[in-house]
């Protein structure tokens, strides 16, 4: 069992190291990441679990909690985007790759028992499957990014920003309208007798919305998970001489090529990822989560699903955090396409979970 005092000292030391050797901004973003990890782990705010509970048990609380998060995050983010031109939204292009990627992400996250943030916080909590999935997720997301050009050639349109098209106020109203319609659909499915929301989902939603908005204001861009993973894998694979970024449509771009040569501690998404792990580790000192015992077949499926999650999340321009939360809250059409496609995939994933007795 970990003890909190030495853990607090280690986190403080990490913060000071970042402050002294990297930048104030990255050190503060590390704290924001810790907050996210502690919130996700402390309230067990699992996107994957929330959808599964809605489908299998008609329990609406997780889904409503997520819709609340989206609404609150949009309420904070859209005015910021309208006011400060330095900030930018998570704008991904609607594309064939988005449709395919979101579907398979939603499917595989059920077998991996965790999406992007779920993998991180459960790995931080010490769940063996998710710790093992993390490097495979990274590998998958790197491969997806390296092959992204080929997928985009199948068809794409320019990203659509609701804030740019309609202004922050109207974009926010449209967002709330759409979220309200989804909440109504959830309610119809769940029935009138079930409670809408629980305290843990509500508190988690509020805290995550605030932290996501802080990330936007500080970093200048919405939070994400997948880019960091793909960068870590890209660095290892490039260093091994197995990949030449110069000839690649994604990693050959100036910004990405630069980040391959810089420390990951300078990368905003990587710092968020490390912070989430650290925040969940902090929570695990009080409430460890050893995870369910799995048989060999379940391990194999889970690990494969982790790789597929990584690959598909790159095609879909993000996971639950990067595409759904950041996309929708900053007014990107791609987030609104991601959500139903991922949910459709999850309905298949939930059946596969039952089939293999997870």
């Amino acid at each position: 069992m970990l003890r909190r005092a030495p853990l607090a000292a280690a986190l403080a030391a990490a913060f000071l190291l970042l402050l002294w050797n990297v930048s104030v901004r990255q050190a503060v973003l590390f704290l924001v990441g810790i907050g996210m990890g502690a919130t996700l782990a402390g309230y067990r705010f699992g996107f994957t679990t929330g959808w599964r509970q809605l489908i299998e048990q008609r329990d609406p609380r997780g889904a409503i909690g997520q819709l609340l998060l989206l609404g609150l995050a949009a309420t904070l983010a859209m005015p910021l985007l309208g006011r400060f031109s330095e900030l930018h939204a998570a704008l991904g292009p609607p594309s064939v790759s988005l449709l395919v990627g979101a579907f398979f992400f939603g499917l595989s996250m059920q077998l991996a028992d965790g999406c992007g943030s779920g993998t991180l916080y459960k790995a931080g909590l010490g769940v063996p499957l998710n710790m093992a999935i993390l490097p495979l997720f990274a590998l998958g997301s790197f491969l997806g990014s390296a092959q992204l050009n080929a997928w985009l050639s199948l068809g794409q349109i320019h990203p659509v920003s609701l804030v740019a098209e309609f202004g922050a106020g109207k974009a926010l109203a449209l967002t709330w309208l759409a979220l309200g319609a989804l909440a109504f659909a959830v309610r119809l499915w769940a029935g009138g007798e079930r409670p809408w929301l629980s305290r843990s989902w509500a508190y988690g939603a509020v805290l995550l919305a605030v932290l996501a908005s802080l990330n936007l204001a500080i970093a200048g861009q919405p939070c994400g998970v997948v880019y960091g993973f793909s960068l870590w894998a890209g660095k290892l694979i490039t260093a091994a001489g197995w990949f030449d970024p110069a000839g690649n449509g994604f990693w050959g771009l100036a910004g990405n090529a630069q980040r391959l040569g810089e420390s990951v501690l300078l990368d905003v998404t990587s710092i968020t990822d490390i912070g989430i792990l650290a925040g969940a580790l902090w929570v695990s000192a009080r409430t460890p989560a050893p995870g369910k015992a799995l048989n060999a077949q379940q391990w194999a499926l889970g690990l494969t699903a982790g790789f597929v999650m990584g690959y598909s999340s790159r095609l879909a321009f993000g996971c639950n955090i990067g595409a759904m939360l950041s996309g929708i809250s900053t007014g990107s059409l791609h987030g609104w396409i991601w959500l139903p496609m991922a949910f459709l995939g999850t309905t298949v994933g939930v059946r596969l979970r039952r089939r293999f007795q997870f």
């Binding site: 930048s23 104030v24 901004r25 910021l80 400060f84 330095e86 900030l87 930018h88 939204a89 998570a90 704008l91 991904g92 292009p93 594309s95 790995a123 010490g126 063996p128 710790m131 993390l134 050009n149 985009l152 794409q156 320019h158 990203p159 204001a217 500080i218 970093a219 200048g220 861009q221 994400g224 997948v226 880019y227 960091g228 870590w232 660095k235 260093a239 449509g249 994604f250 771009l253 910004g255 990405n256 980040r259 040569g261 810089e262 420390s263 990951v264 501690l265 990368d267 998404t269 490390i274 580790l281 050893p290 999340s313 321009f317 993000g318 990067g322 595409a323 950041s326 996309g327 990107s332």
Partner: protein
């Protein structure tokens, strides 16, 4: 439980080793070019890696 503790130790050791390895071979950080603490209102355009980022010809 012992196996779990070992797995956790391997996981965190692996992550820390990766960060140390990456630090040792990355280009040095120019602390004079530090980005502003808060991007909002700073007047400086953002240039970070983002999950929504597509390839160069997507128009994003």
């Amino acid at each position: 439980m012992k196996l779990n503790r070992l797995l956790r130790a391997i996981f965190w050791a692996g992550l820390l080793l990766f960060l140390a390895w990456d630090w040792s071979r990355s280009s040095p950080i120019d602390l004079r070019q530090e980005p502003p603490l808060i991007a909002a209102g700073s007047g400086q355009a953002v240039s970070g890696g983002l999950c929504a980022m597509a390839s160069g010809d997507s128009g994003s």
